[in-house]
Each structure stands twice: as structure tokens, then as C-alpha cells.
């Protein structure tokens, strides 16, 4: 889809005309089969990604030859990998390689950072890892403010309209790759929270009704695939941490096409209940996914 055509269509959608456009609509999970979760555990982080995705049908289920793909890690903080505030660079790299092998024509990696953008990209270690792949189809770029477009959030209960990064909406496959970590206000920062990295404007405002607004956002920013990096869990002083002693290594990667189920499962790794996370509950109530662990098909792989 070229840029002009895309902008035009977004204008149409936001005027509420293009109801048939699939990209922004998440189907209601009425009598859907139980969501499957791939959970891989082990020390070889690149392999964890491969195995977790394999467990839910392989990358080919999500990426077709020629697709444009966005991989959205959390690299919002000027922190090193061992501090657990950003997605592990090996997880991002492995996923990028997987997507390239599936025939993606372009893989974009970006995040709208909280700290200074270049420091975040560099010190997260992610860009260095991606460079090692040496494939020109991978593009890491800093947020280009021209690409924020106002989008009406038709199903939003609290968040009705917000600026969203065009590329996150227009990609054939949008993959959310959050890191699982503590967060003061929302208790945990997982997949739904990670979507804040593709929106513009005064993002702090979402905090005022964070759980519901993240769920509202999830109605338009809908990843085909969520891969949660739980190789390390930042247990305290999140979401940016800074102390290695606040980090617990659990060597786990979770993959699912159901963003709510992925978040719900990751919550249990912190010995918490999915219902304690407001965004999970709100999204579940809106029919965006499953939050009951016993209603999920969990395929665990030891690596």
C-alpha cells in the first residue's frame, strides 16, 4: 500500500466511512476457539523465540512472502539489557531473522522512546544486534513525527481519538515485542502498555485512566502476533529500573496471536493474577482476547 493511498484511506476510516477495512478492526471473540500460547523456556534466547512461535503455528501463519512487517520492541529507556527495562536484543534479533526467513520484504523496528532516542536505541543493545544480521530489509528508524496521524477510535470507551504512528497501522504484519516488567501505576507493563510506543501526543494523559485507555488503544493497534520477552523480569522500580538486583532471570518467551492472553499469562510469572492488571481486564471485557488462564491452550517447550 503506498503512502498517499494509505493516508487517504485513513482519512476515510476516521470519517467512519470505510467500515470494511480489516486492518483497524479486531474481530470479536464470540465463540472463538481457545487461544493458543507458545511458551518457551531455556537459556538460548534466540531459540526461545523460534520455539515459542513454532508452538503456535510457526511464523508463516503470520508473515507471508512480500509482507511489510513492523517489530515493535520496548526500547524506550536508556538502559542496558541486563537492567531489564527494554526488550532483550537477542529476542528482537531472532524475531527479525525469523520474519526475514518467512520472506518479509521490509522489517521496520522502532519505538517512540521516553529517554533520548539515540541513547535508547544504542544502549538497549537492539540496534547493534540488528546490524549483525546484515540484511538491508531491516530498518531501524527514529520516530518521524510527520507520520503521526489522528485516528478515531470508534470502539474506545475512554480514548476516542489519538495520534497513531502510520507505519504501525499500515504494515501487513504488526508484531508487538514487549518486555515483561514492573510498572508503578499499571503494576505491570506488558503488551498492551508497549503499544504506547506507537502513539504521539501528550502520552502522559493516558495515565489518567490507563487500563481502559490501553484497551481502547488495542482496538486499533492490534498486533497479529505478540511475543513477550520474559527472559528477565524487572520486579521493582519499573518501568525503567536501573538496578540489576531488581531483575529476576526466568528465561521465558511467550508468543500468541491473542494479545490479552499473552499479557494474562505473563502476569502469572510475577505471581500475580491477570485480574490485577486493569488493562487486561478492560481488554477482556471489550472482547479483545482471553484472560482466563484455564481457557487457554498453553504449549510449553523446554529448550
Amino acid at each position: 500500500m503506498d503512502r498517499r493511498k494509505f493516508v487517504k484511506e485513513v482519512l476515510l476510516w476516521t470519517a467512519g466511512l470505510g467500515l470494511g477495512v480489516p486492518c483497524l478492526k479486531v474481530p470479536l471473540l464470540a465463540a472463538a476457539p481457545p487461544p493458543t500460547l507458545g511458551v518457551a523456556i531455556g537459556k538460548d534466547y534466540p531459540l526461545l523465540v523460534i520455539k515459542a512461535v513454532e508452538a503456535i503455528g510457526g511464523i508463516e501463519a503470520f508473515v507471508k512472502t512480500g509482507d511489510t512487517v513492523v517489530i515493535k520492541p520496548n526500547m524506550g529507556w536508556d538502559r542496558t539489557p541486563e537492567q531489564g527495562a527494554n526488550t532483550h536484543p537477542l529476542v528482537v534479533r531472532s524475531l527479525a531473522e525469523l520474519v526475514l526467513d518467512a520472506g518479509a520484504s521490509k522489517v521496520q523496528v522502532f519505538d517512540y522512546t521516553c529517554n533520548e532516542k539515540r541513547r535508547c536505541y544504542t544502549n538497549s543493545g537492539i540496534i547493534d544486534e540488528l546490524k549483525k544480521v546484515g540484511d538491508k530489509r531491516i530498518r531501524w528508524e527514529h520516530i518521524d513525527h510527520r507520520k503521526f496521524i489522528p485516528v478515531d477510535i470508534a470502539r474506545g470507551k475512554s480514548l476516542k481519538r489519538w495520534e497513531i504512528y502510520k507505519d504501525a497501522l499500515s504494515a501487513d504484519c504488526y508484531i508487538n515485542v514487549p518486555v515483561a516488567k514492573h510498572h508503578g501505576l499499571s503494576r505491570l507493563s506488558l503488551g498492551l502498555k508497549n503499544s504506547m510506543g506507537v502513539i504521539g501526543g501528550n502520552r502522559g494523559k493516558l495515565h489518567h485512566n490507563l487500563g481502559q485507555e490501553l484497551a481502547d488503544l488495542a482496538t486499533v493497534v492490534a498486533p497479529k502476533l505478540t511475543v513477550i520477552d520474559a527472559t528477565r523480569l524487572l520486579l521493582r522500580n519499573g518501568p525503567q529500573g536501573g538496578r540489576v538486583k531488581d531483575v529476576k532471570v526466568v528465561d521465558t518467551v511467550i508468543a500468541s496471536s491473542d494479545p490479552v492472553a499473552a499479557d494474562a499469562y505473563a502476569t502469572t510469572l510475577f505471581e500475580m493474577q491477570p485480574k490485577e492488571i486493569a488493562s487486561t481486564v478492560a481488554a477482556y471485557k471489550m472482547g479483545l482476547g482471553e484472560m482466563a488462564i484455564d481457557k487457554m491452550e498453553i504449549r510449553t517447550v523446554q529448550v
Partner: protein
């Protein structure tokens, strides 16, 4: 160097070409260093991005006189002094980026007045003497007049961000409004500009107008007289002039046989050649214009005692006394300014800044720290720091915050006004303190859990924390809300909380310089105790 022979005319023409190439080369070097005064992907900057200021003997003299200490960082300025001793004011004619810009301006706005005499031949010298003496007494304003400070300030605080803003606006227009085939050309151009020329983010500055007017003023004075600033105002020029006049290089100008020919003096951009066609080595910047144009080809420079003139410095003793007195009086008035009793609490200095008195003595207002500051946190002060503190860096946290892991300002400071901190020192260096304004902070007023400040607080053990409090909100409903509080011992005053506070306009949390480590009298009673 050269002997005056007619057949040498070709050679002198070559001198001009070489001089112009040198000028352009050093201008480009200057611009590259300016753009490289930025984060480069590592925690350590390229060496020498601040070289221009460390070469400046005028700033070095003022700073050393002010702090009465030897400063190794400023040693390179001896090179420029040696250059002046041996090669006159070639620095002004061949190296100085401001001089080169002025020569370029002359092509665009040629001086109307071709009269050779300099308007205020002693003003630069007055400024030099005044600033040197006032520095001794603790009133360091050399940076107001120094050509490099004016140049870099104008660029860093106005023209560079302006270039970015206009460029972004243009490419936003092409991106949004023009068809794909145009974008196929414009977007790659934009990418190249982004990568190599433009700053990584748009910055905003208080004093943007003042900084740009000062630089534009210097440039526009070219329309009055060639090299107006260099001849009439520049204190660095006056210093180099004094050295050159007593230096090794001498000149051989015209003589009575030239009859009525005045080509040399008319073509001189520095007004260095008098009616007797004698060349004053304190003014001449070795542009070689006269050497090339002389119909008899008799003008030359050399090291031997030739017949060049030594123009008398016509500073009368009375004038000198007045200047010296001003240099003494102004600093002393400072001691009865209200700021001496009641310093501004909003004057937050960069991490590593020396105690205020030493800091101001060393700060040469070069804007290097302001240029390099990643978060657009450092702003030039106006009068918060006193009449002698204008353009010195201060953190304005609503505009930008001090990046936790960044130590670049201390690395670029050419005089050590901001000391170089290790990462660990930086993490523990308290530059101020955050305070809640509970009259507007949402959890207190509206019962809305917000916690954006807590989220962004960068200390590994958070200085901003929250407690869950039962309250009745503004709608009369009993609720539990997360209310933030501050752990005094952990806050370092970086200001990210104030920058990111989502309230419109005024922030509900703000930083003052209370508790800053560099100032023992300013310690917080809450944890340092009353001393």
C-alpha cells in the same frame, strides 16, 4: 617571505587564493566541529569539538585572571599567541571563522563607506582592558564580546535550530502534499540532511532573538565598513593587535615615489595603511590584497626590521583610568545587588558546575554545553544569574530535562566551569530538588492516579514514589488514589518529572536549586540537617 619585485605579482595573487582556501577550510572545520558537538553513540565525545574556545587567548586570559589559577585546558591558546608573535594577525585574516563570515558578508552587502579610517580604533582595546580588569574583580563578561562566543551562541541558540525547523517544515509539506514521484527525490535528500547536517531533535531557546540579533548585528555591520567588528569592537582582535604590533613580522609598504597612488590603502579591509602608505602590523591581517594590487609590486612582509610603521596606541592615561575604574566599579556593585542576598532559586546549573562564583568566572558563554545538551534542558540565562551572568547555562526543566546517563556538558566545557564527571559521579550529583504543587497535582486535587512523574524518575531506587491513600474526590466519592511523594535523599534534580508532567502549562512538580551539592549554604534541612 617575499621581496618587493614587480615580477612577483603572480606569486602574490597565489597568496590570496591560498588565504581564501584556508579561510573556507577553517570555516568548514568549524562547522563540522559545531555539528559534531553532539551525542555520537558513545558516552564520550569526539576530542576537540570545543577546540575553537580553547584556542582563544582572550577568553583564556580573562578566565585565568578571574580564577587566578593555571588551567591546562586552555593551553592551546598559546599557539594563537605564538602565531601573532611571528605572523601578525594572520589568525584574523586566515583562520577566524567569524572573520571569514564577515568577508563573505562583504560580498553580499558591500560597505557603502569606503573611507579608510576606522571609526573607533580604540574601542576593542577598551573592551579588552575593561573585561580583563573586571574579570580580576569577579565580573566575567568576556563572553559577551568574544567573537566565537557570539558566533556559536547565535548558531546554537537560533540559526541551527531554525535551520532544522524550516527544513522539517519544508519536507513535511512535500511529504504530505506532493505526489510520490516528488517524494522519491525529496525523501532521500531529507534522510541525508537528517543524518549529516540537522540536529537530532528540534530545540527551543529563550534568548533565541537576542543571540541571533547579536550575531546578525556583527554580520550586518559589514555594510558600514569592511571588517567593522574586527577593527572597531573585537577584543580578541585588540589583543592579537597588541601582540602583533610588538611581534616579529614587519611590513614594507609604499613610499613617496608612489605619488598620488592610494590603491593599497583603499583596498585595505582593516584600515591598516595610512596616508604615508605605511602598514600598521597591529591592524594588518595579512590578506595580501594590497600586495597583489600594488602597481609597483613593492609591498612585502618579512621578519627583519623593515620600514613598517608602529602606529602609536592613542589611549590617553585619563581614558585608561576611566576604563580601569569601570572594570573595578561594576564588580563591586554586584555585591549590593539583590541577587547577592537572595539568589534565584530557579538558577539550576548543570551537573558538575563549580560553585557559583567560580562557575561564572570560568564560564565564557560559548554555548557549547547548551548545544550538546541532549534534552534541550540547558538554556541561556537572562538576568537570573545577575547582569554578568547572561547566557550562562541554566536548566529549565519544563522545556527539557537532564538525561540521567549523560555527561556531555562537562566534556565540552572548554574552561572547566562544568567539571567532567564520571557516570557514577553524575548519578549522584544533585543539581536541584523537586517539589510538588499539590494545588494542581491531579492525585491530590482530582483524586486521579497519574504517576507520570514516578514512571520517569530515573534514579534506580526511585526518588518519586507513591502511597495509596483513601480520599473523597472532587465529586464527593470515596476512592483510593495513588499519591506521589519525594524521597529527598534520592532526588538529584534532573527535572524529568517537570518535563513530563502531563498537565497543560504549569507543571504540578517543579525543580529548584535547593539542595544542590555545589552550594553548601543551599542544603536541604530535611536531610542534611541545619549546619
Amino acid at each position: 617571505m617575499m621581496t618587493g619585485k614587480r615580477q612577483k605579482k603572480q606569486v602574490s595573487g597565489r597568496h590570496i587564493v591560498i588565504r581564501r582556501i584556508a579561510q573556507l577550510f577553517f570555516l568548514v572545520v568549524f562547522l563540522v566541529l559545531f555539528i559534531r558537538t553532539d551525542y555520537n553513540g558513545s558516552d564520550h565525545l569526539d576530542a576537540g569539538v570545543n577546540l575553537l574556545f580553547r584556542l582563544d587567548p582572550y577568553l583564556a586570559a580573562c578566565v585565568v585572571l578571574g580564577v587566578k589559577t593555571f588551567i591546562a585546558l586552555l593551553l592551546p591558546s598559546l599557539v594563537v599567541i605564538a602565531l601573532a608573535l611571528f605572523l601578525g594577525r594572520s589568525f584574523c585574516g586566515w583562520f577566524c571563522p567569524m572573520g571569514t563570515l564577515l568577508d563573505l558578508c562583504q560580498k553580499i552587502i558591500p560597505a557603502k563607506n569606503k573611507k579608510n579610517g576606522t571609526y573607533f580604533p580604540n574601542l576593542g582595546l577598551f573592551l579588552l582592558i575593561f573585561t580583563l580588569i573586571s574579570s580580576v574583580f569577579g565580573f566575567a563578561v568576556a563572553g559577551y564580546f568574544d567573537p566565537f562566543s557570539i558566533l556559536v551562541r547565535g548558531m546554537a541558540q537560533a540559526f541551527y535550530p531554525l535551520t532544522n525547523s524550516l527544513t522539517v517544515e519544508f519536507f513535511t509539506f512535500t511529504y504530505r502534499e506532493l505526489p510520490g514521484f516528488v517524494n522519491a527525490i525529496t525523501e532521500p535528500v531529507y534522510d541525508v540532511l537528517r543524518a549529516w547536517v540537522l540536529p537530532s531533535a528540534q530545540k527551543f531557546f529563550q534568548l533565541a532573538y537576542l543571540s541571533s540579533f547579536m550575531l546578525l548585528g556583527v554580520l550586518f555591520l559589514e555594510a558600514v565598513q569592511r571588517r567593522f567588528f574586527c577593527r572597531n569592537l573585537c577584543p580578541l582582535g585588540a589583543m592579537l593587535s597588541f601582540i602583533s604590533r610588538n611581534g616579529m613580522l614587519a611590513s614594507h609598504g609604499g613610499n613617496v615615489d608612489c605619488r598620488s597612488c592610494r590603491i593599497c590603502s583603499k583596498s585595505c579591509r582593516m584600515g591598516a595603511i595610512d596616508t604615508e602608505r605605511k602598514i600598521d602590523m597591529g591592524s594588518c591581517n595579512l590578506c595580501y590584497e594590497c600586495v597583489q594590487k600594488c602597481p609597483r609590486g613593492i609591498i612585502s612582509f618579512g621578519f627583519s626590521a623593515m620600514t613598517g610603521s608602529k602606529r602609536e596606541v592613542s589611549l590617553s592615561r585619563r581614558k585608561l583610568l576611566v576604563v580601569a575604574f569601570a572594570g573595578f566599579l561594576l564588580p563591586s556593585v554586584k555585591s549590593v545587588s539583590v541577587l547577592a542576598k537572595n539568589p534565584s532559586p530557579l538558577l539550576i546549573r548543570p551537573p558538575g558546575a563549580l560553585a557559583e562564583k567560580d562557575f561564572l568566572q570560568r564560564c565564557v558563554r560559548c554555548a557549547e554545553c547548551i548545544q550538546v545538551c541532549l534534552g534541550n534542558a540547558l538554556q541561556p540565562a537572562f538576568f537570573q544569574a545577575g547582569i554578568d551572568g547572561m547566557f550562562s547555562p541554566t536548566l529549565v526543566a519544563r522545556t527539557g530535562y537532564c538525561e540521567f546517563n549523560c555527561t556531555l556538558c562537562g566534556q565540552v566545557c572548554p574552561t572547566g566551569a562544568i567539571s567532567q564527571l564520571t557516570m557514577q559521579e553524575k548519578h549522584q550529583s544533585k543539581i536541584g530538588h523537586a517539589w510538588f504543587d499539590k494545588n494542581i497535582c491531579l492525585p491530590f486535587v482530582k483524586g486521579i492516579s497519574c504517576m507520570v512523574c514516578e514512571e520517569h524518575c530515573p534514579t534506580p531506587e526511585k526518588a518519586i514514589r507513591f502511597k495509596e491513600v483513601a480520599m473523597v474526590n472532587d465529586k464527593g466519592k470515596a476512592i483510593t488514589v495513588k499519591q506521589p511523594y519525594l524521597v529527598d535523599e534520592l532526588c538529584i534534580g534532573c527535572g524529568i518529572c517537570e518535563t513530563k508532567c502531563p498537565l497543560p502549562g504549569r507543571s504540578a512538580i517543579y525543580v529548584t536549586n535547593a539542595g544542590e551539592h555545589r552550594h553548601p549554604d543551599n542544603s536541604l534541612s530535611t536531610y542534611d540537617g541545619y549546619s
